[in-house]
């Protein structure tokens, strides 16, 4: 068995939450002075029992987490937002201290919790490479030696002496990742950095991580993209509410996680116009998905056409509301986006104040079986974002046995259209030979 390079034993991290009364800022000196005065008071009148402060509450971001990672392993950490993934990475990378337990590390550690940490917008690309390299733990000689490789990887040769505040966001991210990609630590800790850049660049980064793993480096990474976890990792840990729910082979852990992470949300209503999600320009009123001719309580099957309805209040006159949706599958992949492009008389018109309903008709045999999540994006005049509601609808598309030919397994892929097929037997002269009924 190979050497264990990272071991966590029963680690936990506690935060003290302060519930603030409205109007109060963060903890100020005044609070502290009052607190001290109060403790002196308690000390003077020793018979008063110390009361628990109702405005302070303990919160365990992580509890009883134990892990073992061997050299050359790629460990993927999965879990929903707020499950303690980032806290775990922060503890391993020594940014903050555990409240209990211990972590043992063997080897040089580099952590990459954000691309471009320490980048300064006023400095040039060249200067930032040196600065960022030093921040990530490279020595000056090391950076100098790899400088050309970094520049080539980032594809920013022409802009080396331009301040990076003039870079496009793509160039900025490429440069940041290029520096990080040339680190040579024994243990690399990565937080969700693959979610950036264009597709070609993401592939390049994935390849780079694969290479690093093959060279025997140990990688710990957090991602919401189940496909990349499955492709890269040799081991997965699933965190929920700060505790480990499962460890082991990625495919098994991911499917366990996906099964429980799903709580259907086929309909949402907000009755109170003042507190509904949104702002003073637009507020949500209702969202639902139903099979055509059915209600939100009915299941949606692969072979059903379905309708999504969104009702929202337009609170400002003369705005053209532009509504779009993004469809995600359970691997976190954006399958498609949709928005009204024609066929509605309201297109491009000024909307008066009032309640508007937008319906989107999804044809049958488009969505694959599985959990889908819908994000609603509302913008004004097609360019100003007014409101974005993630997971406004979450629903499962049920498998159906219709029109599947002889195949009963699952169909892979983001969508499941039925396409027209022809099958023909070609004779020696290329002519189509008719299938005789007598066959």
């Amino acid at each position: 068995m190979s050497k264990i390079v990272l071991q966590a034993q029963g680690i936990g991290k506690k935060y003290i939450l302060r519930h603030q009364t409205p109007g109060a800022g963060r903890v100020t000196l005044r609070d502290k002075i009052v607190e001290h005065a109060a403790s002196v008071g308690r000390w003077l009148s020793a018979n008063t029992p110390a009361r628990a402060n109702p405005s302070r509450e303990e919160f365990w971001a992580l509890r009883d987490v134990s892990l073992k990672v061997a050299q050359g392993d790629v460990l993927g950490i999965i879990g929903r937002n707020g499950s303690g993934k980032s806290t775990l990475l922060k503890l391993i990378s020594q940014i903050t201290e555990p409240t209990e337990g211990r972590i043992t590390l063997r080897g040089r550690v580099a952590s990459l919790l954000e691309v471009g940490t320490g980048f300064h917008p006023e400095l040039t690309g060249r200067e930032n490479i040196f600065l960022n390299g030093a921040i990530l733990g490279m020595t000056r000689d090391e950076i100098r030696r790899k400088f050309d490789q970094i520049v080539a990887f980032a594809e920013v040769e022409q802009f080396l002496d331009t301040p990076i505040k003039r870079y496009s966001s793509g160039m900025y991210i490429r440069l940041a990742f290029a520096v990080a990609a040339h680190l040579e630590p024994e243990i690399l800790i990565v937080d969700e950095v693959l979610a950036v850049g264009d597709v070609a660049f993401q592939k390049k980064c994935l390849r780079r991580m694969n290479d690093a793993a093959r060279e025997g480096r140990t990688i710990v990474l957090v991602s919401h993209n189940m496909l990349s976890i499955e492709a890269l990792c040799t081991q997965a840990v699933w965190l929920h509410g700060g505790r480990v729910m499962g460890t082991g082979e990625p495919h098994r852990i991911i499917s366990q996680y996906l099964r429980t992470a799903f709580s259907p949300l086929p309909q949402q209503d907000w009755q109170d116009k003042a507190s509904a999600p949104g702002n003073d320009q637009v507020r949500l009123h209702r969202a639902l998905i139903r099979p055509k001719g059915g209600t939100a309580a009915d299941p949606v099957r692969v072979c059903d056409a379905c309708v999504m309805e969104f009702e929202l209040w337009n609170l400002r006159p003369n705005t053209y509301l532009y509504v779009g949706i993004q469809f995600y599958n359970d691997h976190g992949i954006l399958i498609f986006e949709s928005a009204p492009v024609d066929a509605t008389p309201w297109l491009g018109k000024a909307f008066p104040v009032g309640l508007f309903k937008f319906a989107c008709h999804v044809p049958a045999n488009l969505l694959n079986a599985g959990v889908h999540r819908v994000t609603l994006v509302v913008s004004k005049n097609e360019d100003v974002l007014l409101h974005k509601e993630d997971d406004i609808l979450v629903f499962e598309v049920a498998d159906s046995t219709e029109k599947r030919g002889g195949w009963y397994g699952s169909w892979d892929g983001a969508v499941r259209p039925i396409l027209a097929w022809d099958t023909q037997l070609l004779g020696a002269d290329g002519a189509v030979t008719k299938l005789s009924n007598a066959g």
Partner: protein, 276 residues
């Protein structure tokens, strides 16, 4: 995080107290790079760049000379009044700048602190270095005034670096306190500029500390900047002999601030990422 050369590193609650200084030494290159960054960035996209350091010194010099020399007619002890003032303005401006930058440094570097592990003391340290560079540049004004008044300093000017070091240590010690306090209590954002404004008049910047009545002199020297500025004047202006009890008091105050500052900083450092 940077290299951890030792074979095994154990992270535990409240642990890791040993090896603090060796670790700081290992991170010297990051310290160098952060200071380099701050120096580079300081005068980017300004037209006259580094000349601002000179202008700041000259403007303060002018105002204080007019107020204390011309209007209040304070004694100068035989040297041109502007020279007397400049010998106070130079260390004061360094001290005020370093203290302001130090106290803001951690909060300004919050992104770095919550994403990367390194000895946090590097951040306020680099703030002091940047102001030291500014200070060295503004020393040019001193050379200018020497030429203008035909004033030649004697051997005592060789002791100037010693008082410079005292100013550095003092501002770093206080800076550590303020930087760490600022992380938890943003009140200091308002306290520091306010205190420095008062400090300009409470310290002998625009006047000689010999103007302070003899009986109050020792008490006055509780302000550690008094020793620093007196030292500068003594070294630059061939001035009257030093007031040694005051200087000693300055030294004691400075070491005390540094020692307690480091202690407080190290004690709170481990929670910076959680609180900031």
């Amino acid at each position: 995080m940077r290299q951890t050369q030792q074979a095994e590193l154990v992270i535990e609650a409240g642990g890791r107290a040993s090896g603090y200084w060796p670790q700081l030494w290992r991170y010297r290159e990051l310290f160098y790079f952060l200071a380099w960054r701050d120096i580079l960035v300081r005068y980017k996209q300004t037209v006259i760049g580094v000349a601002w350091a000179l202008i700041k010194a000259l403007a303060t010099l002018l105002v204080l000379t007019v107020v204390f020399g011309r209007l209040a007619k304070m004694p100068s002890g035989g040297v041109p009044y502007p020279l007397l003032v400049l010998a106070g303005v130079l260390p004061w401006q360094f001290f005020a700048g370093a203290l302001t930058d130090c106290s803001n440094s951690l909060v300004a570097g919050a992104a770095l602190i919550s994403k990367i592990h390194f000895p946090r003391m590097i951040v306020p340290g680099s703030a002091v270095i940047v102001n030291l560079v500014d200070f060295l540049i503004s020393c040019l004004v001193l050379a200018l005034l020497f030429l203008w008044y035909g004033f030649a300093p004697d051997w005592r000017i060789l002791t100037l670096p010693l008082f410079g070091v005292l100013a550095v240590v003092l501002s770093f010690g206080m800076g550590l306190w303020l930087a760490a306090l600022m992380v938890a209590y943003r009140d200091f954002k308002f306290i520091v500029p306010f205190a420095l404004q008062i400090g300009l008049y409470a310290s002998p910047v625009g006047f000689s500390s010999s103007a302070v009545p003899e009986g109050w002199r020792l008490l006055y020297s509780l302000n550690p900047m008094v020793g620093v500025i007196d030292g500068f004047r003594w070294a630059i202006l061939r001035g009257p002999s030093l007031y040694y009890p005051g200087l000693l008091l300055s030294l004691i105050m400075t070491s005390l601030l540094l020692a307690t500052g480091m202690r407080y900083f190290r004690r709170t450092e481990r929670t910076f990422a959680d609180v900031i």
